[in-house]
Each structure stands twice: as structure tokens, then as C-alpha cells.
Symmetry: C2
Subunit: 81 residues, 2 copies
């Protein structure tokens, strides 16, 4: 069974670069990678925040959240703390 990986971003240049560099490099045979644009899907902000995402781009994989470089803080995208 594949593991789930979620790549959260907001369309920023840093986000696009990390999507091309990191998210696209993930092994699709082992992971189902979902790409979530938090600007276009603000209903996912709560879930991202609950997982531990504090800025984008971020990769939620396994039990961990990894912030990849820094594009924008989650609050700037409208997250409520």
C-alpha cells in the first residue's frame, strides 16, 4: 500500500521551485503525492495547520512535516491559529 504525501504550497516562486525539485522527485511507486494549493483551496488550511505546517512550501509525509525553504507564512494565507 502506498503512503500518503501532501505537498502544500501557495503558488509562490519558492513553492514552484520546491515542487519541481522535491515534490516531483518523490517515488510515485511508494507514495501518493497530493499537491495542495492553499491559496486556491483555503478549506485545507485547517488540516495543514493541524498537521504542523507553519509556512509554505511544506511536505507532510509519514508522521512528519518538512518545511522546504521559505515562501510564505501560513497566517498570510488566512490560517486561523
Amino acid at each position: 500500500m502506498k503512503s500518503k504525501a501532501i505537498y502544500y504550497h501557495a503558488g509562490c516562486p519558492v513553492c514552484v521551485e520546491a515542487e519541481r525539485g522535491v515534490a516531483s522527485a518523490i517515488d510515485a511507486n511508494r507514495y501518493d503525492v497530493e499537491i495542495v494549493h492553499l491559496g486556491e483551496s483555503p478549506e485545507r488550511l485547517g488540516e495543514a495547520s493541524d498537521a504542523g505546517v507553519v509556512s509554505v512550501p511544506a511536505l507532510h509525509i509519514g508522521e512528519s512535516v518538512f518545511h522546504v525553504n521559505f515562501g510564505a507564512p501560513l497566517e498570510q494565507l488566512g490560517a486561523k491559529s
Copy 2:
């Protein structure tokens, strides 16, 4: 031909977590992933610094360097600027 990816770390807890979460998720069919412990291989510090690594853990993939969370600054590992 496989692309090269280099994961720089220093054995710190943040580094170990990112290696398990991110570096190990990279598609080995498309990337040759090299794991470099900069504490044990200080001769690689210059190369890492030249590539744009400023802290570990970091992933150098394609033309880009991605800092994954934050474990330690490169200077703390003895890099000369």
C-alpha cells in the same frame, strides 16, 4: 541517465528525521541519492557551501538547494565563508 541528488546532514535529530522522511522518499529509479554527513566528511563542506547550502539538513537536487527544516548552520560545522 539518473540525476544526482545529494542530501547533506550532520547527524542531528532534525537531520535524521528529514533523511527518513524526505531523502528516503526520493525515487531511486530517477535519482542517485548520495548521503553526506558533513561532520564526518568535512572535506565536503566547501562543495556544499559553493552549492548554496547554508544549514543542514539540505537537499541539493538538480540546480537547486532545498533547506529542509533547520538543524544547524553550516558555520557551526566548520565551513569557511
